[in-house]
């Protein structure tokens, strides 16, 4: 066995030239030898600061230690006890700004590859024989969860573990929320998502698709007529922002939500075997530089675009995408136009996009977000010839449910007001968490909020029940 390496054990990935033309997963995962080797790099600190960086407080050294000891079942049990979606978080978490950022190894070397190891454990678990028995809930109070994205799924899973009958209502025809319609196959295969959701179903979670709470059923009807004791709102931030610049309604301009939904949920990459088309030209400009923008531009390449461009009004330093996504995008040939602000979409006489008029920006003083404010350089306008423009400049909570439910307070950004620790909203028996509360953020923050809310719901129901049984069961679980 070689000595410990100074750097993270790399995960093998498919060659950029090949993978940039299909939707198969980029990362190939560790094998057992690499995982055990990497697990040995963990210092097993007395004070595991990495856990402080994790929104669901996974006992990181413990599960890594189990891998090093070759006890995969123990590693899986530790991991799943803290995070009901490990196969997903191991793939999509921005570890470099969370657990791995705090790792003491960073002082001299590179951090332990916590994310890679999480993924390895979850994938090992996925390869084990399935347990077909569905667990039955043992409590009386029914809980409704609105939205089957990460916040809702985690909340539902935690409540099911506490014995509550849980029904998750999903507006679309398939569960997963942004994990389904937003994150592409090459980063999070649907098979992985389906598996995680099946695990939740086995733990007793029921999922009802095609139900738009606020339209099909009123939220108050869940509480008043359908006998639910509490409701968790995890409806996410699904409303796309547009820039409001001229030409935004030209043919060939999309929101990233539409672009990715056509591809991921509706499988447009398989047209005409699937029925939903997607039109991608030779040159696709994506506006924005977050993870969604990277997913979008890389999807465009996979659908046959010859050039994928990222157009961003700030600089590389302010980019919000994960390092790995940025890195993969560079490898796949994406062009980056930093400090470039789109001011108009240009079109031909038939109304199709032909170009994006931009201006050069320079960085000024810090703005409200703490990042340097981009300012236009006078007389710097120029045109980038493109066939498609995709807007990936953020999303806000969908007002559909909030507007149709009385007494739920929202803030000036349209986010539902809820207590950070408990998810309690301004109405009794209604809890919330995830992007609908915070605005668009990460999968793991939503998962953390779902977990916190599940614990608060249990505490409040136990108090109402007048017993401590729920608390004891919960604390004795691990």
């Amino acid at each position: 066995m070689p000595l410990k390496r100074m750097d993270k054990t790399p995960m093998s990935e498919r060659a950029a030239g090949r993978r940039a033309h299909d939707f198969l997963e980029v990362n190939e995962g560790y094998d057992m030898a690499r995982a055990m080797f990497e697990a040995e790099r963990c210092l097993r600190c007395q004070d595991p600061v990495c856990v402080d960086g994790c929104p669901v407080r996974i006992p990181i050294p413990e599960f890594i230690h189990a891998i090093a000891a070759g006890d995969m079942r123990e590693a899986a049990t530790i991991l799943r006890g803290a995070n009901p979606l490990p196969a997903i978080c191991g793939r999509v978490c921005p570890q470099e700004t969370q657990c791995e950022e705090l790792c003491h190894m960073n002082n001299r070397f590179s951090s332990a590859a916590i994310g890679h190891l999480e993924r390895f454990v979850a994938d090992w678990e996925r390869g084990q024989p399935a347990n077909d028995a569905t667990r039955q809930p043992w409590r009386d109070e029914k809980i409704a969860v609105i939205g089957s994205g990460p916040a809702g799924l985690v909340c539902a899973g935690q409540l099911a573990d506490m014995g509550y009958p849980v029904t998750v209502y999903e507006a679309l025809h398939a569960p997963g929320g942004v994990l389904r319609y937003g994150i592409p196959e090459f980063r999070l295969p649907n098979a992985v998502l389906d598996w995680e959701i099946d695990v939740l179903r086995q733990r007793g979670v029921e999922i009802a698709n095609n139900i738009i709470v606020g339209k099909t059923i009123a939220l108050d009807a869940l509480l008043d007529d359908m006998g639910f004791a509490a409701v968790f709102v995890g409806t996410g931030a699904g409303l796309p922002k547009f820039l409001g610049i001229p030409g935004e309604n030209l043919n060939g301009v999309f929101s990233a939500n539409e672009f990715l939904t056509r591809i991921n949920l509706m499988r447009a990459y398989d047209f005409p075997v699937s029925d939903t088309p997607m039109k991608v030209g030779k040159r696709v400009a994506v506006i924005g530089a977050g993870n969604t923008a990277m997913d979008t531009v890389r999807s465009a390449l996979r659908l046959g675009a010859e050039k994928g461009l990222i157009v961003y009004r700030r600089s590389e330093t302010e980019m919000t995408a994960r390092i790995e996504e940025h890195h993969h995008a560079i490898e796949e040939g994406v062009e980056f136009h930093w400090l470039t602000n789109p001011i108009e979409v240009l079109g031909n006489v038939d109304g199709w996009v032909t170009g994006l008029k931009c201006q050069v920006m320079e960085l000024g003083e810090a703005d409200d977000s703490g990042r340097a404010r981009p300012l236009p350089v006078a007389g710097s306008e120029f045109v980038i010839p493109v066939d498609n423009v995709v807007l990936s400049i953020g999303t806000t909570p969908n007002p559909l449910l909030l507007q149709s439910t009385a007494g739920l307070e929202t803030d000036r950004w349209g986010c539902l007001v809820a207590d950070e620790e408990s998810g309690r909203t301004t109405r009794a028996r209604i809890y919330a968490g995830g992007d609908v509360v915070t605005g668009a953020a990460t999968v793991i923050l939503a998962a953390g909020a779902g977990k916190n809310a599940a614990e608060a719901i249990d505490r409040d129901l136990s108090a109402a029940r007048g017993d401590d049984q729920g608390r004891e069961l919960q604390s004795g679980r691990h």
Binding site: K215, T216, F242, N249, P272, S274, D275, D350
Partner: protein, 292 residues
Amino acid sequence: MARIISKRVLTPVTKLFVIEAPLIAAAARPGQFVIVRVREGGERIPLTIADYRPDRGEIIIVVQEVGVTTRLLGALDEGDDILDVAGPLGSAPDISPAGHVVGVGGGFGAAALLCLMRDLSQRGARTTAIIGARQKDLLILTDELKAASGHLDLCTDDGSTGFKGFVTERLQQLIDGDAVAPGLGPPDRVVAIGPMAMMRAVADTTRRAGIETLASMDPLMIDGTGMCGGCRITIGNEIKFACVDGPFFDAHQVDFDEAERRNKMYVDMESQAAVRQAHACGAASQVREGAI
């Protein structure tokens, strides 16, 4: 899954389905729509709820076979299940029942007028439905619309029944005098549901006369809940999402040029899919014949 309780063939390409959907039937309001998907890998398409019966847990949709999905749907029969039906989506139009409200329906748009006209009549409005088609046997739901409206006026391009000419010409006559719908008076409000060209023509007609008019917009849509923004249309100087802000908008403010252009975004790909479907159907019928 939603069960088809019964099916009626209204024209060779227009089918009516009564569907078991108790939650949707209980929540539906006139003018709302559902999103339907008919097979794995299938599209999500919006379809207007033509009528709903909360007491029986049923909704009625009318489908015109124009593309892959509507043809697959049209081929389903009583007892079959529709894979996904979600709704009710969109908002009921805010139409005052004071005075004389005229609904103008073109082609299968007539179906979408049905519960709208009945609701307005029940709320005390004087109502006229003007519906048009190329010829007599393409007019649909005439008995039901007659029962739902104070007056029903039929128009055909070839004059095979009713007025010979376009619905807009008839609407103009109604605006000009009392001969079309005696005793009901000139229109105070107009609702147009049908092909884009018809709704645009209705908007032009009523703009000249200064009559408040709503058009029911049916842009391309995926989720139907405000998530994709594919259905955005320009109303005056504002961009709206037809799925959540509509589908009814002030017809005089709608940018019809843009709406028409955006609806044609995928025509070439749609015809590619239709050709593929025709081949597949041909192959399937050969298999069936072989089996017999």
